[in-house]
Amino acid sequence: MNSKAGSTFGSDGATDSSAARRNSKKPKYSKFTQQELPACKPLLTPGIVISTFALIGIIFIPIGLASLSASEHVVELVDRYDADCVPQHLRDDKLAFIQNSQTNKTCTRRLIVPKQMSSPIQVYYQLDNFYQNHRRYVKSRSDKQLKSKSSERETKTCEPEGTTGDGLAIVPCGLIAWSLFNDTYSFSANSKSLQVNKKDIAWQSDKKHKFGSDVYPKNFQSGGLIGGASLNASIPLSEQEDLIVWMRTAALPTFRKLYGRIEVDLEANEEITVVIQNNYNTYSFGGKKKLVLSTTSWIGGKNNFLGVAYLTVGGLCLFLAMGFILLYVFKPRTLGDPSYLSWNRNAAGYSN
């Protein structure tokens, strides 16, 4: 009888003024609204913890070994030449040497191939301490101008290398293009010249979509300060692969860029002669220049880090698996034992 009374007393109590909803407002039952969707409730049980660690160890150690061996198979030849390629008498003032356009900048280096190098052998130049990711530098380019002829005047973002002193647009504009690397290398082995293939050193995607095939260099390196290489004004930008490579700015202050490929094998202990045109000025800020010859593998260049990292992590995980096994053995605890609940522990005279 109470319910009867209740229904008369309460039901109108909360009717909204908007609509007369006389029917029951009982929320519809669904697993979702009651937060009872079927769910998996993972717990870090000893079994799972140990097997996770073991699994990581088991997977990581082979990967580590594979990477190390891949890295071991890569033959890399690095030659730093920036200091040695300055003639002895000019070493006190390298800057004067590099800035003087009259001096002979040819420099010959002899390299010994440590191991057999199978083609293709990548030829890189490596710059150290060159902040291609410097904020002033990365911003100083105009992608629109590079892409299409019609946007030639889009040089606003290229400061301070946007226009010539006469206000003519520089194509390609900007600090990046202006500072294009201009050392050149020619190789010979056993007094036979080694051909360096400079085709396809840039990304196809860049050549196709970022650099226009109808954009030709204009007013380039015509200012008072020459930053680097000049470009052949009759070749469209999309074919200027050195430029394209250079304009993909490096992530870190030490970086390599692809110079070309030598498509013959080099034997171990073979002596290679490299004639370098040492034009590029890194002396003004103490940057290093290196020439790198390297074979490739799936892991890229020679890099032991990844292998070591995998081995370390894998080893650590195996160790942890062991450690946890010991911990679980020496300090066992029944999972889900109510006596471990804080209030039960307190009642048992435990204090925490």
Partner: protein
């Protein structure tokens, strides 16, 4: 119905009155001026009232109304009755500026045009948004343009957009309901040549219009009654929409306007107050055509939204319309509170700001050092080149000296690292709360079947506070109890009849009365005592029989109940529903009906009672309503046999003072004993007495009564004197015991809450004995508890009893060595204390230095019961606890008297019960039953708290990890803040890449199931101890983010250090690695994986990858095609795997270690959920084995 006023004619309509309403509402026909001193007096001491204190606020508003009785022109509004244009003119003439509002209501905040500016303005009131706006604006300066201009505005725009969308939807709903409301129609008197009532939509009704309401019509605006279908001018209204009270209230039309018909026109001018929000006050006067002035009060006005009931029609003139109506003026939103977690969060945000500042300072200092070291090289350095030759003459390009550069770098660093303070967190928190609120309202466990009410979240920003409550302050009546009174037993003539267990066997004979060919029966059945029923039927002329009849006649007559006849599906059957303001009276009238004394009809002058099948008419000659001084009420009845009788009912202590002790002393003694028994059973008791009045006595009374009721000054006092004079030398009839039924599940709920370490304090207006007995019945008090009762009437006495109590507390705590902290030791063998204190003592204690001592004692006690407390004292007690501890307080109540405490407490919960909706309106959450506190706090509160706590920490962590990756990179860019990660990715990181999983996990993750949480209430302690959000966790979070950022940054760094990789390629690796690591981190912390969690976590990793690819497919961005080149190598995948594992392992170790070797209660409970049944089985096996061995 002719106005037959019975034996002795009474010039004013005898009001159908209830027991508890202050006097000023009573007498519409008299000038209010005379009321002022008394009504203000009754309002000034609501604390002392034995009246359910819900009338306190009403009394207060009455006082307000009374104080405004002089209406100077500048405060008045003139309403020309029946002449809306005239009214507007009058307003203009008075120079009121704005005329009276039209009746169209607008609850919508915005219009199409104003939406954008207003919404933006409101959103930017949040400091966080201003911070992000400032950063976005900084970014627009060319020197500082870290991100593209559009890109930098994106996150803020996104957040603003989502919020605006939410607001727009809410506003749209309001507009829709407004439209519905505005287009309802009412009958309005047409223009004068053809005065007819014609339907008119509500929005076109204006002040001054004369409106006719038919039965069940809602009033379209606040209107003064002019006439009603009742000859005495009574109209009954139901004010459910206004204050939620479902009983009928009477309103009166003035005698002077009653006789007029529409055809005569209702010419006159009403001069009333300016619109105000006081629903219980109205003050005006009506100047009739003849120049006569009549004063109008709150009983003459029907407010917008009230429904006309039980009255065929009523005509009134609109005085306040539209937004001026009292209901609109009262529709304010819930008070805004801030959650504890959010307040705590500010500390961490501040810490992060310092961290951010430090990072910026480091970057800019190092940049300065770099510049100084390379000062001489800058000119020629290819990647810097200070000089600009392009303009013809040499100048510096974008270089303003080292100091300025450093400063610019600092600002840029702020922009780059801005998400250290997570913008998306604010919107995520809002969305999570919205989701949590959705689940709370949808929870079938919080749905109240009996009142058809869902749980309601009125405040959206304190969900998580529900998980940290330590103190509950509960009202008693209507909260612990149902406030549905049930007649249980009676003592009549010294004989106790409490055997009424079985329903009467002679049900049909007694329960229905015959009216013509119809059967009417009371709506509620009451169990009757067979002895008593027999005595009534057969007792005939015996002394006991007469006494019993008198007794029930008194119950049926001495009240202010209005019987309503309801139709039933069966045309021959009708139900009598007793409506009245006091649930006690309802119970008594139902009881009388069950025993054969059926109140059938009440008009203004007489009542009809079916006495054991014989319909009799009794004239109501006078009525002295209940007041707090007398604590009783009385009626003077002219019986059919031409005798005049006085019936009085009231509280025992007041009644025994006026009972004639010279006769029937043994009956009085017996009754007293029975009363004691009743109240120790937790029953509410009332004593009934009577006296026959002689002719002279009656006439004396009548003249005094008339004089008093027409007096201009001190009328209430005079009336009280008249009442006290007549209420004496009573002959005792008996006493009743009414059960204030406990709500379902209250004892269990209280037990659960106590186990959860929550202290439940009951604050009630009831007297001490009742409070204690209810305390026992709801298991709040137990027999083994030591009760400390403080009950003093002076400050010194209070001090003394507090000191004694303190001493006793200390002694008892010393006695039990086990007593540690009250929460942990609650279950142990400690002697438990209960403090019982009454309102009188509290008067002396609150607001003095004794507060400190009271708090000291109260915090030692397990239970605190405060009885006879006034509404403001309730708030005072809440404040006492709130200001002295850091603990969260929750107040729960259902009546207007609980409003102050609900607003004072950290969390206020309104029970939408019988006492109206004021408590609900003031509350943060509302629900139907007290017992819902258990699922609300233990389940939803726990979930909400742990979800929100985790979400905030996770947001701090994930943004810090990302910002740190950016930070490490600055060391390799000559500290120039170039970001390898594209600007789009760094902006999308916090709004798109990682925001959604946190929201979904914040809404859906459950660390424990509902069943476990309810079964082990102590798990609630996690929230009370702030286990899910504290400084320690925050620091761990930051350490983890530092480690992970190092892993994310340096593993790819070392892998690609000597390669040809370009900036964007490496940036993409970092971005992907960061998103994957933080998502896996989240995945490891998710307790419950359902398909949505899977979808959102793995989905957002996928979405990130897709986004990165899409960004790298835009040709003019520097990262064009970079991701595809990188992804094409095995190295990338090997590197990514290694990064993730290196980043995650420490968290995994930490988690595995803590979960196993330092398990929290929650962890154990989770294991129990998963393996519990297994363990139990194993253990019983072991036990059995040991048994068999021994």
């Amino acid at each position: 119905m002719a106005a037959n006023l019975g034996l002795f004619s009474d010039p004013s309509p005898p009001p159908p009155i209830s027991g508890h309403v202050p006097s000023s509402r009573r007498r519409p026909s008299h000038d209010r001026i005379s009321f002022a001193p008394d009504s203000s007096h009754s309002a000034s001491s609501p604390s002392a009232l034995g009246v359910p204190a819900r009338h306190g606020s009403r009394a207060e508003s009455e006082r307000l109304a009374a104080s405004q009785r002089d209406l100077p022109d500048e405060d008045a509004r003139l309403v020309v009755v029946g002449d809306a244009p005239g009214t507007a003119e009058a307003a203009a003439r008075l120079g009121l500026g704005v005329g009276p509002a039209g009746n169209a209501v607008r609850t919508g905040k915005y219009s199409v045009l104003s939406f954008l500016p207003r919404n933006l303005f409101e959103q930017f009131r949040r400091v966080a948004y201003v911070y992000f706006l400032v950063i976005a604006v900084l970014n627009q300066l060319p020197q500082l343009a870290v991100f593209g201009r559009g890109a930098s505005l994106l996150p803020l725009a996104f957040v603003l957009f989502v919020t605006a969308l939410k607001d727009a939807y809410e506003d749209f709903r309001r507009h829709r309901s407004d439209r519905l409301e505005n287009n309802r129609s009412s009958l309005v008197l047409g223009p004068s040549p053809l005065p007819r009532f014609l339907p008119k939509p509500w929005k076109r009704i204006r002040v001054g219009d004369v409106v006719k309401l038919l039965a069940d019509d809602p009033a379209p605006a606040d209107m003064v009654l002019l006439s009603t279908s009742d000859p005495t001018g009574v109209a009954y209204v139901r004010t459910t929409n206004l204050d939620g009270e479902s009983n009928l209230k009477s309103r009166y039309a003035k005698q002077e306007t009653l006789a007029r018909t529409p055809e005569d026109g209702f010419a006159g001018v009403i001069r009333c107050e300016r619109p105000n929000r006081n629903i219980y006050g109205f003050h005006a006067n009506l100047e009739l055509r003849g120049g006569r002035r009549v004063s109008l009060g709150p009983s003459n006005i029907v407010l917008r939204g009230c429904e006309l009931k039980n009255t065929a029609w009523a005509v009134g003139v609109v005085v306040y319309a539209g937004k001026d109506t009292k209901v609109m003026l009262n529709s304010s939103g819930a008070p805004s509170k801030r959650s504890r977690l959010e307040t705590r969060m500010n500390r961490e945000t501040l810490f992060l700001s310092v961290f951010l500042l430090a990072m910026c300072l480091i970057v800019c200092t190092l940049n300065g050092i770099w510049l100084v070291v390379h000062q001489n090289e800058l000119e020629l350095m290819q990647f810097f080149r200070k000089r600009d030759y392009s303009g013809g003459d040499e100048k510096n390009y974008n270089y303003y000296g080292i100091a300025m550069t450093v400063f610019i770098i600092f600002l840029m660093a702020v922009i780059v690292f801005q998400i250290m303070i997570p913008i998306s967190l604010y919107i995520s928190m809002e969305l999570v709360r919205l989701g949590q609120a959705y689940f709370m309202t949808r929870d079938t466990n919080l749905y109240d079947e009996s009142s058809n009410l869902r749980f309601q979240c009125r405040a959206l920003n304190i969900n998580e506070d529900l998980g940290q409550i330590k103190y509950i302050f509960s009202d008693k009546t209507g909260t612990l109890t149902e406030n549905k009174m049930e007649f249980q037993c009676a003592t009549v003539g010294g004989v106790d009849y409490s055997g009424g267990k079985a329903p009467s066997p002679i049900e049909t004979g007694f329960y229905s009365i015959v009216v013509g060919d119809q059967f009417w029966r009371p709506k509620m059945l009451v169990k009757t005592d067979p002895e008593l029923a027999k005595l009534l039927r057969n007792g005939g002329e015996t002394e006991e029989g007469k006494c019993a009849r008198e007794f029930f006649l008194a119950l049926a007559a001495c009240n202010t109940i209005v019987p309503l006849i309801l139709e039933t599906p069966d045309p021959k059957q009708k139900l009598i529903d007793y409506q009245g303001e006091s649930p006690d009276e309802q119970a008594l009238v139902y009881a009388a009906a069950a025993y054969g004394f059926v109140l059938v009809e009440r008009t203004s002058g007489y009542i009809v009672i079916d006495v054991l099948g014989d319909r009799q008419r009794f004239d109501v000659l006078g009525l002295h309503e209940f007041d707090s001084d007398r604590k009783r009420m009385s009626v003077i009845i002219g019986c059919p046999d031409k005798t005049v009788k006085l019936y009085v009912k009231g509280a025992d202590n007041s009644m025994f003072g006026v009972i004639d002790k010279s006769i029937n002393l043994d009956i009085i003694r017996a009754t007293e004993t029975h009363l004691h028994n009743y109240s120790s059973l937790g029953l509410r008791t009332l004593v009934v007495g009577t006296r026959k009045l002689s002719r002279t006595e009656f006439e004396e009374w009548q003249s005094a009564y008339e004089k008093a009721s027409t007096a201009l000054l001190g009328r209430a006092g005079l009336l009280r004197t008249v009442a006290t004079d007549i209420e004496r030398n009573l002959h005792i009839l008996g006493a009743t015991g009414i059960e204030d039924k406990l709500q379902k599940g209250v004892p269990e709920a209280i037990e659960s809450l106590r186990q959860a370490g929550i202290k439940v304090w009951v604050l009630t207006g009831d007297k001490q004995e009742t409070a204690i007995s209810i305390g026992y019945s709801c298991k709040l008090l137990t027999r083994e508890m030591t009760q400390i009762i403080i009950n003093s009437y002076s400050r010194e006495a209070c001090r003394k009893s507090l000191e004694d109590a303190m001493a006793m507390c200390n002694k008892l705590t010393e006695l039990s060595p086990m007593a540690q902290s009250s929460t942990t030791a609650a279950g142990s063998g400690r002697i438990r204390l209960a403090l019982i204190i009454d309102g009188n003592s509290l008067v002396y204690i609150l607001e003095t230095d004794l507060q400190e001592e009271l708090f000291g004692i109260a915090s030692k006690c397990d239970v605190v019961l405060c009885c006879r407390v006034a509404p403001l004292q309730k708030a005072g007690i809440v404040a006492l606890v709130k200001h002295r501890t850091d603990d969260m307080t929750l107040a729960i109540g259902d009546g207007a008297n609980d409003v102050s405490m609900i607003q004072m407490a950290d969390v206020g919960i309104g029970i939408s019960g019988q006492e109206g909706r004021q408590a609900v309106m003031a509350s943060d959450f509302s629900m139907g039953q007290f017992r819902f506190l258990v699922p609300l706090l233990l389940v939803h509160g726990h979930w909400n708290y742990q979800r929100m706590g985790y979400m905030i920490l996770y947001n701090f962590y994930k943004n810090a990890a990302f910002v740190l990756v950016l930070f490490w990179y600055t060391f390799y860019t000559a500290f120039t803040l170039t970001t390898a990660i594209t600007e789009w990715s760094s902006l999308l990181y916090s709004v798109l890449y990682t925001a959604f999983p946190t929201i979904v996990v914040g809404i859906l993750d459950k660390d424990l199931s509902r069943r476990t949480l309810v079964r082990y209430p102590r798990l609630y302690g996690a929230g009370q101890r702030e286990e899910k959000y504290n400084l320690k966790l925050f620091i761990i979070c930051l350490i983890e983010s530092v480690w992970q950022s190092l892993a994310i940054f340096y593993v790819p760094y070392f892998v690609y250090r000597h390669s040809t990789i370009d900036g964007s390629g490496l940036g993409d690796i970092w971005a992907l690695a960061a998103v994957i690591v933080v998502n896996i981190h989240l995945a490891m912390d998710v307790a419950r994986w359902n398909w949505m969690t899977h979808a959102i976590i793995w989905g957002s990793i996928l979405a990130t990858a897709i986004c990165v690819m899409v960004i790298d497919s835009i040709w003019f961005l520097s990262g064009y095609w970079a991701i595809f080149h990188v992804m094409g190598t095995t190295l990338f995948w090997a590197c990514l795997l290694c990064t993730i594992v290196v980043g995650i392992i420490p968290h995994f170790i930490l988690k595995a270690f803590i979960d196993y070797f330092m398990p929290s209660d929650i962890q154990i409970a989770r294991e129990m959920e998963k393996f519990g049944h297994l363990n139990q089985a194993m253990r019983s096996e072991i036990r059995m084995r040991t048994f068999s061995q021994s």
